[in-house]
Symmetry: C2
Subunit: 285 residues, 2 copies
């Protein structure tokens, strides 16, 4: 059985923890990634992760797409002795040694890393504090939605969270609209309506975000997508962030420059979705 903090890695199918430095993921961030939760030994929402991975590769105009059957085989091999943890899959465009130009003959590289460990669920129970990051998220219409390897904005936003002591930081676009968290998507409740920022121009279309939208709709809760101005944050009833590893973290506190510290109740509506998501995860493949 793998121990927590113990990692195992496959690079292009070989047990290895290193990759050639001519890999375009290192050179230019030329690739995509997925972070998949392992729960009770199962790869949660595998198919949805693979769909987004392939969509990302298409969006970056990869000449060859990664083989999902091979990825599944390797993911299963790697997670064989892991009951709880995270699997990260990185797909890069391949190797090259001639600047930005893509060689005619190139095939993707795949890196699979497993990190065993049970998540601390204190935040899911007690709620988290969030702040609004100075670091903006830029509009890049043709790259929005996909989980590519150009993640400096998120790294810098995450650094602000560490400095400020926030569990998570919200990222705004250049027009002060909230797009997402540094490592999560955001949902807010307003007058019994569930709302999440539209991601047409920026942001990552989280798998858990998509699952929550479907679950909510199945329960008769309409989900609106649109723009959320940062100044409207104090006016929402409840809010929560989500991602594939943490599930749903309710927000109990927001720090804003203009309104100071705002406290939020973790209400029944958020708890209901948390429960729904947990149940769905247990039966998901």
């Amino acid at each position: 059985m793998l121990k927590a903090e113990q990692t195992m890695t496959l690079v292009n199918g070989e047990v290895s923890s290193s990759i050639d430095v001519t890999d375009r993921g290192l050179q230019f961030g030329d690739g995509v990634f997925e972070t998949i939760r392992i729960n009770r030994g199962r790869l949660v929402w595998w198919q949805q992760h693979m769909n987004r991975l392939l969509e990302g590769c298409r969006c970056l105009h990869f000449t060859n797409l990664p083989n999902v059957d091979v990825l599944l085989k390797e993911a299963v091999q790697l997670s064989e002795n892991c009951m709880e943890g995270a699997l990260k899959i990185i797909i890069t465009r391949g190797f090259s040694n001639c600047g930005y130009t893509i060689p005619r003959e190139i095939s993707p590289n795949r890196v699979l890393l497993i990190r065993p460990g049970v998540r601390n669920s204190a935040q899911a129970r007690q709620g988290i504090s969030i702040g609004v990051c100075q670091q903006r998220i830029n509009s890049a219409t043709n790259l929005s939605g996909i989980k590519h390897l150009n993640r400096l904005e998120q790294v810098l936003a995450r650094m602000e969270c560490a400095t400020e002591g926030w569990d998570e930081g919200l990222m705004l676009n250049q027009r002060d609209k909230v797009i997402e968290g540094s490592m999560s998507n955001l949902f807010v409740w307003r007058h019994d309506h569930l709302f999440t920022p539209a991601l047409d121009n920026a942001g990552v279309e989280g798998i858990t975000r998509g699952i929550i939208i479907k679950l909510a709709e199945k329960c008769g809760i309409a989900v609106e997508q649109g723009e959320l101005d940062v100044l409207d944050l104090p006016n929402v009833d409840e809010l929560f962030v989500c991602n594939s590893l943490i599930g749903i973290w309710p927000v109990s506190q927001i720090e804003t420059a203009k309104s100071g510290q705002l406290n939020f109740e973790i209400g029944d509506k958020t708890r209901f979705l948390q429960q729904q998501l947990e149940e769905a995860m247990c039966c998901a493949d």
Copy 2:
């Protein structure tokens, strides 16, 4: 003596061509790079490259900066048998295995790759064709100027050049202002004035761009920096692109969607700067 196409690599001082996959350069593009020309066995404009490299690391809030003395030692070691070629230096924030969050203890990784070979100077003599890329360059004020590893926009722009058969492609911001080429900076001559787009909000502050500005001013040519609308391209007298490896490439043809194909003379003013740059390079350290 190293042969063309033969590469040599140092990773953290060791002769190696691979790096651990937990490197944050691969994971998030969390780092910076420099591409330095080797001319007659010398590392051209080394100090300027190091200044930008350190500035980039500071801008990304690296806990520890790379040691420039060590970099020089390794660069000299690697380029010992290389008379003409390119040296690429990649500096990443270091290794980590816990998402975007930066561990308290982290030190930068350094990758030095050498690629021997004499540049084909046909483009410098005969001029090049350029087009205007669909791929936009996004404004990211706090990251503008530095040569970080998040280069998907440039990769996608370069792909357009290959598809369209252009030698270089110009990249516009969201407001149709020309920022730079996919792998170069742009200069234009208008009524005896030299102009280059300001890079306050986007783009890379090329070392050669900086050298050209200084050389021009030394020769009594004022260099204006500001905004250049893509619609104004047909109205310039001469134009050229530059980077550390190619020097100056005069532009002899622009393909634009609105004005079709435009031909330009390669005039004396561009040839003069080309000559000045060549001479400066030969005495630069």
